[in-house]
């Protein structure tokens, strides 16, 4: 039997996702519905925005675990700012989120670049710093009375189906914009290629004349910007700002992006892969709920799915599979 096996991590991951989608489509009558598809989009929007931001940092050879907490900080900063200027609107809110987010990312970038501290150490420190400051100044108090523009759900497309209303909401649009923007940045713009170069071979990039300081600000700033927007979207979806709502999310997103083929250490990774990584995690959760699997088994199954996916898409797993197919060919 001749099988055309995929060559890339993304290819393998796509195979796993497709297999899972097929399986769920066959075993439930609710998976392949427009409402479910739109729900998946709506509920992964925030994570996808985080993921494409983190992807850029990973490609540039860094890592950041402070972004989810930074998003919470941005939520508060935006909320306080718009309330102090008398309400604001979406344009103001998103602009503020982008600016504050970029600013927090720039703090990481300058610590990493100018003080030559490795990124994981810096971002563990800023993770604690951001969260500590947030708890200190908010005293842990949530904000429930956000301005109306922020709370009112914006449905951009809706259709009534037998299984209920299917809607596309604002976070999905922001997600699509950020996905396209990130793709343009890293694939289509020269500065994006310089980011890859820096992550791939920092010394080589320096010698050929890549501006490493600029690249650091670009990468961490971009993640900060994405985190800021994701934060505002999360607050929009949850209709409240809670200081610890996003803490812990960073590891889920990191796992998804690495699953999608981004290499810790830099130089490799794609938007498509990051999307697949998030999709795999989201679809697993969705499928477990739809299948009516006991929640006590959720973590076990989710862990197993991730392991299978990562084994298949890593070189080791691939050669293992190649070996197996060789055995069967000989037999």
């Amino acid at each position: 039997m001749k099988l055309d096996l995929p060559h890339t991590t993304e290819g393998w991951l796509l195979l796993v996702v497709v297999a899972m989608v097929a399986l769920l489509g066959l075993s439930t009558d609710t998976f392949f519905t427009l409402t479910n598809f739109f729900d998946l989009l709506n509920s992964s929007a925030v994570n996808v925005i985080f993921a494409v931001g983190l992807l850029v940092v990973l490609i540039a050879g860094g890592i950041d675990i402070s972004f989810a907490v930074a998003a919470s900080v941005v939520q508060y900063l935006v909320a306080i700012t718009v309330m102090s200027i008398g309400g604001g609107n979406w344009v103001v809110g998103l602009a503020l989120a982008a600016i504050f987010g970029f600013g927090l990312g720039a703090i990481n970038a300058s610590l990493i670049y100018y003080f030559r501290i490795i990124s994981i150490v810096v971002t563990i420190a800023t993770f604690n710093l951001f969260f500590g400051l947030l708890m200190f100044f908010t005293r842990g108090v949530s904000i429930y009375n956000l301005p109306d523009w922020w709370l009112d759900r914006i449905v951009l497309y809706e259709i009534e189906t037998p299984s209920g209303y299917a809607e596309i909401t604002l976070p999905v649009v922001v997600m699509i914009v950020m996905v396209i923007a990130t793709w343009l940045l890293i694939r289509r713009l020269t500065i994006g290629r310089q980011l890859y170069a820096m992550g791939d071979n920092t010394d080589g990039a320096r010698r050929i004349g890549v501006n490493l300081a600029g690249m650091h600000f670009l990468a961490y700033g971009w993640l900060g910007l994405c985190a800021g927007l994701a934060g505002v979207m999360q607050a929009h979806r949850a209709q409240e700002v809670v200081p610890n709502a996003l803490i812990g999310q960073e590891l889920d997103v990191l796992a998804a992006v690495v699953l999608g083929g981004a290499r810790l250490g830099g130089g490799r990774g794609s938007v498509f892969g990051a999307l697949l990584g998030v999709a795999l995690v989201t679809i697993t959760q969705n499928g477990l709920n739809l299948l009516g699997v006991s929640p006590f088994a959720f973590r076990m199954i989710a862990g197993a799915v991730i392991l299978v996916a990562i084994t298949l898409s890593s070189g080791q797993g691939r050669s293992l599979l190649g070996l197996l197919s060789l055995r069967t060919k000989r037999a």
């Binding site: 729900d39 005293r139 108090v141 949530s142 209920g164 949850a238 709502a245 959760q285 709920n289």
Partner: protein, 330 residues
């Protein structure tokens, strides 16, 4: 290391004790160590403590550690012992860790009262404003009534490892099985109710998997909020009922929109008052006995063996009560 709030609380206590004109030198003194300072729940408890202390002529204050760390609580209790208070109240983060230091307090004749810690050793009394059975059953009954006694429902807990939430859930399920055989649980409980996002996503999935789902019973403060948002999004307000304990301020809007039907909680302000009332009684040497009526607790039946006083002083969360509760900052 002493934490700042502890120091401040101590300094404040000394200042109040030393210079407070109204406080007689022999006014009984009590410190209540709570899980964590600065959050609305314990802010309300502090109000209760202060009000009741003033009423009874006691000097009582609250100590709130900066984080929910058992070690910080131990330190705070040690400080209170050193100050020579007459009574110590604790809402423990970890019952076991506190045992030695509470034993030390009692050796020195200090009265020790805990709250929300039914297995606590070395206490004069532990009191609960809600029994796990009573709390679970009250929610179950309300859900059954709203759903007309039949249909499918889903169950959330904060996480699959929170003992209290699971005890409530067990009680609710057992109650519904017995009283309302027409009520059907769609799956095992979901451990999502500590996150609005997870509660919401899970609710969306469950409503899809079970189009005839009639209700969510969510134990865990974010559960009703997340499930409520999902119900609103799916435009099933009034078709799918959402019940459970939640922060009134957070759920206020959803209750008024009719998305969250209601639930029960106990009042932390009330708990604060009970701390002081019981301390006052113990310091005066009054014994708490079966059938006695204690302000804030009602008629009690203390369990001499486990040193527990458990009552069901539930506060209803509904359209009528939520605004007042929210106004208290809860």
């Amino acid at each position: 290391m002493r934490t700042l709030p502890t120091l401040l609380a101590g300094a404040l206590a000394v200042a109040v004790a030393g210079f407070g004109p109204a406080m007689a030198q022999d006014a009984p003194r009590m410190g209540v160590v709570v899980k964590i300072g600065g959050i609305p729940w314990f802010n309300a408890m502090e109000v209760g403590i202060k009000n009741k202390a003033e009423e009874l002529g006691m000097d009582a204050w609250m100590v709130g550690p900066t984080s929910a760390d058992p070690a910080l609580q131990v330190r705070a209790v040690e400080d209170l012992i050193a100050q020579g208070v007459d009574a110590i109240g604790v809402v423990p983060n970890d019952a076991e860790v506190l045992e030695p230091v509470l034993a030390r307090a009692r050796e020195q004749g200090i009265k020790v009262i805990t709250h929300e810690s039914p297995d606590q050793q070395n206490v004069d009394w532990n009191f609960e404003l809600a029994s796990s059975d009573g709390f679970g059953e009250a929610h179950a009954e309300l859900l059954a009534q709203k759903m007309g006694g039949e249909g499918k429902y889903a169950l959330y807990v904060g996480s699959l490892t929170v003992p209290l939430h699971n005890a409530w859930a067990d009680a609710a399920v057992a109650y519904l099985e017995e009283k309302y055989p027409g009520m059907e649980l769609v799956a095992d409980r979901f451990g999502v109710a500590e996150s609005v996002d997870d509660s919401r996503t899970t609710a969306l999935d469950l409503m899809r998997a079970h189009p005839d789902l009639g209700g969510f019973l969510a134990f865990g403060s974010q559960g009703p909020i997340g499930a409520g948002r999902a119900v609103a999004e799916r435009r099933k307000t009034g078709e799918v009922f959402v019940l459970g304990p939640f922060s009134p301020g957070q759920g206020q809007r959803l209750v008024h929109d009719g998305v969250i039907t209601g639930g029960f909680m106990w009042n932390p302000m009330e708990a604060g008052e009970v701390f002081v009332t019981m301390a006052d009684m113990l310091i005066k040497g009054e014994e708490i006995k079966e059938g006695m009526e204690v302000p804030g607790l009602g008629v009690v039946s203390p369990d001499e063996a486990t040193r527990n006083i458990i009552v069901d002083q539930l506060v209803t969360l509904s359209v009528d009560t939520v605004d007042d509760l929210a106004a208290m900052g809860l």
